[in-house]
Amino acid sequence: MFDIVFWVLAVVTVGAALAVVLLRDVFRAALCLVLLFLMVAGVYITLHADFLAVVQILVYVGAISVLIIVGIMLTQEMWRGNPSGKLRIPALVVGLLLLGTLVFSAVTTEWRTSDVPPQEPTTAAIGAFLFGEGGFILPVEIAAVLLLAAVLGAIVLIREK
């Protein structure tokens, strides 16, 4: 059962990613990207990462996809389609080489996997890990400053003169 779920999720994810790259219509490519984000949330659920799956849906499906679609709407390049540049063949070669290397190293390496059952639910544990003693409290504060700087930067860049 678990295997079937994984294979369905994997096939739909890869199909959606290929559609993003290959579709002529930019808007349909953006909709396929939303499908990909949803499927990745499903992959997180198969990995017992329930909190991360919800964060994925909130941030990617809810916010980033809207941002990208607004970007497509504001830049009126839809009639131009989704063309490839002069670098199409070299990019294909580089992508296939990287794919071969990554798959080869992932399959041939002897990973030291553990048989301990995973922690569930993860929300309280992640909260303790982020904010607790000896945890990630400094990176959390830096992430807050980063988000503030990014929002202010975006407003400054996009403001009418």
């Binding site: 890869v14 990909l36 964060v55 390049e77 992932a106 988000l147 929002v151 996009i158």
Partner: protein
């Protein structure tokens, strides 16, 4: 063979390669941004898979994935803002025509 760590790593590698091809080959700047998001998602899948199969009780990989999502959100906001600013100035988001800083 039941699904294990290798399956997730191969899925992540396939997604990352598709995203890399899109980033290098496409001319529409918004599509390039979308392909970068695909690559970041692929990295997140690898991080969470390692967290699940190598250290199931520690959750370190999931915390890293959360920080990756934070940085991806900031990057998408700034990226879209830059693309719209360029579009206002040059009436185009074709990356082949972004040669303002070339000498």
């Amino acid at each position: 063979m039941s699904v294990g760590l290798e399956h997730y790593l191969v899925l992540s590698a396939v997604l990352f390669s598709i995203g890399l091809y899109g980033v290098l080959a496409k001319r529409n700047a918004v599509v390039i941004l979308m392909c970068i998001e695909i690559m970041l998602n692929a990295v997140n899948i690898a991080l969470v898979a390692f967290s699940r199969y190598v250290v199931p009780t520690l959750l370190t990989g999931q915390v890293f994935a959360i920080f990756v999502i934070v940085v991806a959100a900031a990057e998408a906001a700034v990226g879209i803002a830059i693309i719209i600013a360029i579009y206002r100035n040059r009436e185009s988001i074709d990356v082949a025509k972004f040669d303002l800083m070339k000498w």
